[in-house]
Amino acid sequence: MQTHARKLLVVICEAALEKMLIEDARRLGAAGYTIADVRGSGRGGTREGAWEADRSIEMKVICEAAVAERFAAHVMATYCEHYSVTMYLDDVSVLRPEKF
């Protein structure tokens, strides 16, 4: 089974950013994304998702390294200063390279 290397970029952040991140991801070349509702804690305190302003999401984007880098840099520059954002990159393998 032939696999192809891609990057998995994971962004964990306030739910308020969801719509903007989706737009940004599309614009910067991601072919798709997956979002889950999460809760958590970090520098910005504990976010339990009890109400609107307290919700967090985890966004996953599988894409080529260049797209991941561009998107990550954009998130860093645009949101990281004032919003609660955690981000990491992972190396994954996909089977259908044309999809990502």
């Binding site: 306030e14 308020a16 719509k19 903007m20 509702d37 305190g45 339990e48 998702g49 009890a50 109400w51 609107e52 302003a53 307290d54 919700r55 949101y79 200063e81 004032h82 919003y83």
Partner: protein, 310 residues
């Protein structure tokens, strides 16, 4: 005391005692959708009966009040509180806007006391929601207005769930009238106070969780959270009397002015003024002003309304 307020206190107690009690997020959302629709519907039923001219004048005055209320709040926060411009602007926006649930508690308080009020008051809740947010953003961005993502903010506010459901409910209520509403009355009218009680339990849990933020906020902000509602209530009451509202209507408009938004304003300001610290504005709005209003404030505002007759 009204049972709905006791539910709030139960929530606060549970949170402060670090109980496991947690309402599912979907329930929170459901209850708030229900309340917004029900408030809208109730207001809409009667809206058709009111002469359009008189409502238009009142509406205009309320809108103007909404745009202007953040200004004194901003001045106090900058002048006395020495807060940063974004923080001051954001808090001012929260206090200029309105808390739908505080309004709901006030209406149950009035109906318990059998004080009549203009039944189209929910329209004013809808009108007060937005203007203060616009003013708040302008205050935060003076000089750098170009940098505001106005489209995103406008979308967030005008098409946010609060306005869509309130105005949608108003429109449906106005369209079908009291008879048309009859089949859905057992749900949207009869259950209203029970749902409000449950929602206040959840609000208690949320407000209890904000107490930690208050330490960061400091004494000034806590004082602000009690004093400014009193000032705003007076402004609201005066505006109400000027446009000829009844005792009940005056108490309600005073309550609206005195209340601080914790749904529409936080979401909008988070997008428009990200450098403002949300812990401050939400901490004081939910941790101080909301509890103050639903326990001590509302009875006070009714007395104020009764005292202020001209």
């Amino acid at each position: 005391m009204d049972p709905v307020v006791l539910f709030f206190l139960l929530g606060v107690f549970a949170k402060l005692a670090r109980s496991d009690l947690r309402l599912p997020e979907a329930l929170y959302e459901t209850l708030s959708i229900f309340l917004l629709l029900a408030i809208g519907l109730k207001g809409g039923i009667e809206l058709a009966k009111v002469p359009l001219g008189s409502v238009a004048v009142q509406a205009f005055a309320v809108l103007a009040m909404g745009f202007l209320l953040p200004l004194p709040a901003f001045a106090i926060l900058r002048g006395l509180g020495r807060l940063s411009r974004p923080d001051a602007a954001s808090i001012a926006a929260h206090y200029g806007s309105v808390s739908v649930v505080t309004f709901a508690v006030a209406t149950t308080f009035l109906s318990k006391r059998e004080v009549a009020y203009e039944t189209h008051m929910p329209l004013f809740v809808a009108l007060l929601e937005t203007p203060a947010i616009v003013t708040g953003i302008l205050l935060a961005r003076m000089g750098t207005l170009a940098s505001v993502r106005w489209r995103a903010v406008a979308h967030e506010v005008l098409l946010g769930k609060t306005l869509v459901l309130l105005l949608g409910g108003l429109a449906i209520g106005a369209a079908v009238g009291p008879d048309g509403i009859e089949p859905i009355k057992p749900m949207f009218i009869d259950l209203f106070k029970g749902v409000l009680a449950l929602f206040l339990l959840e609000m208690g849990l949320v407000a209890g969780g904000r107490v930690a933020d208050l330490r960061r906020a400091g004494v000034f902000l806590i004082g602000f959270g009690v004093v400014v509602p009193l000032i705003f209530a007076c402004i609201g009451a005066i505006v109400a009397r000027l446009v000829g509202l009844s005792d009940g209507g005056t108490a309600l408009l005073a309550t609206m002015a005195a209340s601080a938004s914790y749904i529409a304003a936080p979401t909008a300001m988070r997008i428009a003024v990200p450098e403002a610290n949300p812990a401050l504005s939400i901490g004081v709005a939910l941790g101080v002003t909301f509890p103050f209003n639903i326990t001590l404030g509302i009875p006070l505002y009714l007395r104020l309304a009764e005292a202020l007759r001209f």
